[in-house]
């Protein structure tokens, strides 16, 4: 399974990690939906750190698409709850 942390890297994680990943992401989503600033400040770094510590970075010259894309580490609760999509570089 390939997970991208936006603004950082892509990581390759064992598929067996997906359940734990789901739990961690669930905590972030709950914090965002509840507008809970302190829960958000704790759960997002926990999720990202799990990916960084469990995953192997995908080399820059490998062209892989990600199964999951996580927001950047410095995303705010406001951004996460709004239209956090970005325009990207690909023209519409």
């Amino acid at each position: 399974m390939i997970v991208r942390i936006s603004g950082e890297d892509q990581y390759r994680l064992p598929d067996s990690d997906s359940q734990r990943l789901n739990e961690l992401e669930g905590a972030v989503i709950a914090a965002v939906e509840g507008g809970d600033e302190s829960a958000f400040a704790a759960s997002l770094p926990a999720l990202l750190e799990y990916v960084r510590s469990r995953g192997q970075p995908v080399p820059d010259d490998e062209l892989e698409s990600s199964d999951v894309i996580l927001p950047p580490a410095d995303v705010t609760l406001l951004e996460a709850s709004g239209e956090f999509t970005g325009e990207g570089l690909i023209p519409d």
Partner: protein
């Protein structure tokens, strides 16, 4: 996996499939896609240049404010030693505003520095992906039949497309931050243009207005504190007017500056 990650993935996928729809012939798709990638890499470079420009502007403002702080401090001391407390206070008020601006500029320069670093890292990653795509493109053209090629192209283009989308997001955030900083830099420029940090010994009759505004901007407790401290340092050699100012001066004294 709804929520944020789902939304981001959806946007990326939609963008990539749009890119692939442009051409029907696989070879054409590959070349078109590559050409777009190279163009976008130029945009990233331009984005980095914009951040650097904004940072330089703030840094120039910083150094000019630093000079003002030193100058105003000196003037406050000189005013105090010649017994002109009113003028010393004015100088300290200005110094106080300048220092506050300096601190915030410092934070912002740091933030821009960080943005610049992030974008530079992103640019390098994107460049590596594009280079990998270029190599792969030639392999695909040479080795695969049209039907197979479509699949391979799609895989490769999605990989690059995702990186492009990600860099785009980083750029957009950098641009937002840079815009905020520009507004801040403009505000400091306005203060400078209004003579906020000018030489207090050059105070003319028209300066009352600036000083009235300055009194609102600067923290009076910080100014009082610094004035008292400076009096201790400078005033030990001075004479009479040390602890007596109380109510005596403010109302009607017009000074002789």
């Amino acid at each position: 996996m709804a929520g944020l990650t789902g939304r981001m993935s959806t946007v990326v996928k939609a963008k990539v499939s749009k890119l692939l729809d442009r051409a029907e012939d696989p070879a054409e798709t590959l070349d078109y896609s590559y050409q777009k990638q190279v163009e976008q890499l130029q945009n990233v470079k331009k984005g980095i240049a914009d951040v650097v420009t904004a940072k330089k502007r703030l840094q120039m403002q910083e150094s000019s404010l630093q000079q003002s702080v030193v100058k105003l401090d000196t003037q406050a001391r000189q005013a105090l030693s010649s017994g002109n407390e009113e003028l010393a206070r004015t100088a300290l008020e200005r110094k106080n505003v300048a220092q506050t601006e300096l601190q915030s500029l410092d934070t912002q320069v740091g933030e821009l520095e960080e943005q610049q670093q992030k974008l530079t890292d992103s640019e390098q990653k994107l460049r590596a992906k594009i280079e990998a795509f270029r190599t792969k493109k030639e392999v695909i053209k040479a080795q695969y039949s049209a039907a197979e090629a479509q699949v391979r192209i799609s895989e490769a283009a999605t990989g690059v497309g995702e990186q492009m989308a990600d860099v785009g997001l980083a750029m957009q955030r950098a641009v937002d931050k840079t815009e905020n900083m520009k507004a801040r830099a403009d505000a400091v420029s306005e203060l400078e243009a209004a003579g906020t940090f000018d030489d207090v010994t050059a105070l003319g009759s028209g300066e009352d207005d600036i000083d009235r505004q300055l009194k609102q901007l600067s923290s009076s407790s910080a100014v009082d504190e610094e004035l008292a401290k400076m009096k201790g340092e400078v005033g030990s050699g001075g004479g009479a007017a040390q602890i007596s100012p109380g109510e005596a001066q403010p109302p009607s004294e017009s000074g002789k500056a």
